[in-house]
Symmetry: C2
Subunit: 107 residues, 2 copies
Protein backbone atom coordinates (compact mmCIF):
# COMPACT_ATOMS: atom_id res chain seq x y z
CA UNK A 1 0.00 0.00 0.00
CA UNK A 2 1.35 3.42 -0.95
CA UNK A 3 2.62 5.59 1.83
CA UNK A 4 3.34 9.30 2.00
CA UNK A 5 4.78 11.69 4.52
CA UNK A 6 4.25 15.42 4.77
CA UNK A 7 6.47 17.12 7.24
CA UNK A 8 7.84 20.38 8.46
CA UNK A 9 11.53 20.60 9.18
CA UNK A 10 12.55 23.85 10.83
CA UNK A 11 16.14 24.99 10.88
CA UNK A 12 17.67 26.86 13.75
CA UNK A 13 17.25 30.59 13.05
CA UNK A 14 19.03 31.72 9.89
CA UNK A 15 20.23 28.26 8.89
CA UNK A 16 17.54 27.13 6.44
CA UNK A 17 19.82 27.36 3.39
CA UNK A 18 22.28 24.96 4.99
CA UNK A 19 19.51 22.56 5.94
CA UNK A 20 18.01 22.80 2.45
CA UNK A 21 21.33 21.89 0.86
CA UNK A 22 21.66 18.88 3.16
CA UNK A 23 18.14 17.73 2.30
CA UNK A 24 18.93 18.08 -1.40
CA UNK A 25 21.86 15.70 -0.84
CA UNK A 26 19.50 13.33 0.91
CA UNK A 27 17.09 13.58 -2.04
CA UNK A 28 19.91 12.74 -4.46
CA UNK A 29 20.67 9.62 -2.42
CA UNK A 30 17.08 8.47 -3.01
CA UNK A 31 17.29 8.75 -6.81
CA UNK A 32 18.32 5.11 -7.08
CA UNK A 33 15.63 3.81 -4.69
CA UNK A 34 12.83 2.40 -6.84
CA UNK A 35 10.28 2.47 -4.00
CA UNK A 36 10.65 6.23 -3.71
CA UNK A 37 8.13 7.82 -6.06
CA UNK A 38 8.60 11.42 -4.96
CA UNK A 39 10.80 13.33 -2.57
CA UNK A 40 10.14 17.03 -2.84
CA UNK A 41 11.95 19.65 -0.79
CA UNK A 42 10.20 23.00 -0.46
CA UNK A 43 10.78 26.24 1.38
CA UNK A 44 7.86 27.56 3.40
CA UNK A 45 6.91 30.92 2.00
CA UNK A 46 5.72 32.42 5.29
CA UNK A 47 8.32 31.00 7.67
CA UNK A 48 11.93 31.88 6.92
CA UNK A 49 13.30 28.91 8.85
CA UNK A 50 10.98 26.14 7.69
CA UNK A 51 11.28 23.54 4.98
CA UNK A 52 8.58 21.07 4.01
CA UNK A 53 9.42 17.60 2.80
CA UNK A 54 6.86 15.62 0.82
CA UNK A 55 7.67 11.95 0.33
CA UNK A 56 5.65 9.38 -1.62
CA UNK A 57 6.62 5.71 -1.48
CA UNK A 58 5.08 2.63 -3.06
CA UNK A 59 5.06 1.07 0.42
CA UNK A 60 6.18 1.93 3.92
CA UNK A 61 8.95 -0.73 3.98
CA UNK A 62 11.26 0.94 1.43
CA UNK A 63 10.81 4.22 3.29
CA UNK A 64 12.02 2.59 6.49
CA UNK A 65 14.88 0.96 4.58
CA UNK A 66 15.92 4.34 3.15
CA UNK A 67 16.59 5.64 6.66
CA UNK A 68 19.31 3.00 6.95
CA UNK A 69 21.15 4.01 3.75
CA UNK A 70 24.65 5.19 4.55
CA UNK A 71 24.21 8.36 2.50
CA UNK A 72 20.92 9.21 4.24
CA UNK A 73 22.29 8.46 7.71
CA UNK A 74 25.29 10.66 7.02
CA UNK A 75 23.00 13.54 6.05
CA UNK A 76 20.80 13.05 9.11
CA UNK A 77 23.86 13.16 11.34
CA UNK A 78 25.04 16.42 9.79
CA UNK A 79 21.55 17.93 9.83
CA UNK A 80 20.65 17.17 13.44
CA UNK A 81 22.58 20.10 14.99
CA UNK A 82 20.83 22.65 12.78
CA UNK A 83 17.29 21.27 13.14
CA UNK A 84 14.94 22.78 15.70
CA UNK A 85 13.37 19.54 16.91
CA UNK A 86 10.66 21.34 18.88
CA UNK A 87 9.17 22.67 15.66
CA UNK A 88 9.19 19.40 13.74
CA UNK A 89 5.86 18.12 12.40
CA UNK A 90 5.15 14.95 10.47
CA UNK A 91 1.95 13.44 9.14
CA UNK A 92 1.67 9.86 7.91
CA UNK A 93 -0.54 9.51 4.85
CA UNK A 94 -2.15 7.01 2.53
CA UNK A 95 -2.39 8.49 -0.98
CA UNK A 96 -5.71 7.66 -2.60
CA UNK A 97 -5.77 9.49 -5.93
CA UNK A 98 -5.48 12.66 -7.92
CA UNK A 99 -3.22 13.99 -10.63
CA UNK A 100 0.30 12.62 -10.94
CA UNK A 101 3.05 13.70 -13.36
CA UNK A 102 2.18 12.05 -16.67
CA UNK A 103 -1.32 10.95 -15.73
CA UNK A 104 -3.53 9.82 -12.87
CA UNK A 105 -2.11 8.66 -9.55
CA UNK A 106 -0.65 5.20 -10.32
CA UNK A 107 -1.23 3.65 -6.88
CA UNK B 1 8.35 30.32 -10.06
CA UNK B 2 6.98 26.97 -8.95
CA UNK B 3 4.43 26.97 -6.18
CA UNK B 4 3.15 24.22 -3.92
CA UNK B 5 0.53 23.88 -1.25
CA UNK B 6 0.35 21.35 1.54
CA UNK B 7 -2.87 21.36 3.43
CA UNK B 8 -5.07 19.53 5.85
CA UNK B 9 -8.74 19.29 5.06
CA UNK B 10 -10.78 17.80 7.88
CA UNK B 11 -14.25 16.44 7.30
CA UNK B 12 -17.01 16.71 9.81
CA UNK B 13 -16.92 13.54 11.94
CA UNK B 14 -17.54 10.38 9.94
CA UNK B 15 -17.72 12.10 6.57
CA UNK B 16 -14.17 11.74 5.25
CA UNK B 17 -15.13 9.25 2.54
CA UNK B 18 -17.63 11.72 1.09
CA UNK B 19 -15.09 14.52 1.20
CA UNK B 20 -12.43 12.30 -0.37
CA UNK B 21 -14.72 11.44 -3.27
CA UNK B 22 -15.46 15.12 -3.85
CA UNK B 23 -11.75 15.95 -3.84
CA UNK B 24 -11.12 13.15 -6.34
CA UNK B 25 -13.65 14.84 -8.62
CA UNK B 26 -11.80 18.10 -8.15
CA UNK B 27 -8.53 16.34 -9.00
CA UNK B 28 -10.05 14.98 -12.20
CA UNK B 29 -11.06 18.51 -13.18
CA UNK B 30 -7.38 19.51 -12.97
CA UNK B 31 -6.19 16.80 -15.37
CA UNK B 32 -6.48 19.17 -18.29
CA UNK B 33 -4.72 22.10 -16.56
CA UNK B 34 -1.15 22.16 -17.83
CA UNK B 35 0.11 24.34 -14.97
CA UNK B 36 -0.90 21.68 -12.45
CA UNK B 37 2.06 19.34 -12.01
CA UNK B 38 0.68 17.31 -9.11
CA UNK B 39 -2.53 17.14 -7.12
CA UNK B 40 -2.39 14.30 -4.63
CA UNK B 41 -5.20 13.42 -2.26
CA UNK B 42 -4.23 11.40 0.80
CA UNK B 43 -5.94 10.11 3.90
CA UNK B 44 -4.23 10.88 7.20
CA UNK B 45 -3.35 7.60 8.85
CA UNK B 46 -3.72 8.84 12.42
CA UNK B 47 -6.78 11.06 12.08
CA UNK B 48 -9.92 9.37 10.79
CA UNK B 49 -11.47 12.63 9.60
CA UNK B 50 -8.49 14.29 7.91
CA UNK B 51 -7.36 14.40 4.31
CA UNK B 52 -4.14 16.00 3.09
CA UNK B 53 -3.95 17.66 -0.28
CA UNK B 54 -0.56 18.23 -1.91
CA UNK B 55 -0.56 20.52 -4.92
CA UNK B 56 2.40 21.45 -7.12
CA UNK B 57 2.02 24.13 -9.80
CA UNK B 58 4.49 25.62 -12.25
CA UNK B 59 3.41 29.05 -10.99
CA UNK B 60 0.91 30.53 -8.55
CA UNK B 61 -1.22 32.12 -11.31
CA UNK B 62 -2.62 28.87 -12.76
CA UNK B 63 -3.41 27.71 -9.23
CA UNK B 64 -5.48 30.84 -8.65
CA UNK B 65 -7.11 30.37 -12.05
CA UNK B 66 -8.03 26.78 -11.18
CA UNK B 67 -10.17 28.01 -8.30
CA UNK B 68 -12.36 29.75 -10.86
CA UNK B 69 -12.98 26.64 -13.00
CA UNK B 70 -16.67 25.75 -13.02
CA UNK B 71 -15.96 22.13 -12.12
CA UNK B 72 -13.76 23.12 -9.20
CA UNK B 73 -16.20 25.74 -7.92
CA UNK B 74 -19.00 23.19 -8.07
CA UNK B 75 -16.97 20.77 -5.96
CA UNK B 76 -16.05 23.46 -3.44
CA UNK B 77 -19.72 24.39 -3.06
CA UNK B 78 -20.70 20.78 -2.40
CA UNK B 79 -17.73 20.19 -0.07
CA UNK B 80 -18.19 23.25 2.15
CA UNK B 81 -20.96 21.80 4.35
CA UNK B 82 -18.92 18.72 5.23
CA UNK B 83 -15.60 20.50 5.91
CA UNK B 84 -14.65 21.40 9.48
CA UNK B 85 -13.21 24.84 8.72
CA UNK B 86 -11.75 25.20 12.24
CA UNK B 87 -9.36 22.33 11.55
CA UNK B 88 -8.16 23.50 8.16
CA UNK B 89 -4.43 24.09 7.69
CA UNK B 90 -2.57 25.28 4.63
CA UNK B 91 1.10 26.02 3.99
CA UNK B 92 2.36 27.92 0.94
CA UNK B 93 5.58 26.50 -0.44
CA UNK B 94 8.31 27.09 -2.99
CA UNK B 95 9.63 23.73 -4.24
CA UNK B 96 13.42 23.78 -4.59
CA UNK B 97 14.46 20.26 -5.56
CA UNK B 98 14.46 16.56 -4.89
CA UNK B 99 13.22 13.47 -6.67
CA UNK B 100 10.33 13.75 -9.09
CA UNK B 101 8.59 10.97 -11.02
CA UNK B 102 10.88 10.16 -13.93
CA UNK B 103 13.89 12.13 -12.72
CA UNK B 104 14.98 15.17 -10.75
CA UNK B 105 12.60 17.98 -9.85
CA UNK B 106 12.09 19.81 -13.17
CA UNK B 107 11.53 23.28 -11.71
Amino acid sequence: MAYALAGKLAARPGRRDELRDLMLESGAALDAMPGCMLYLISEARDDADALWITEVWNDEAPHRASLQLDAVRAVIERAMPIIDMDRMEQVHLVPVGGKWPGGPWPG
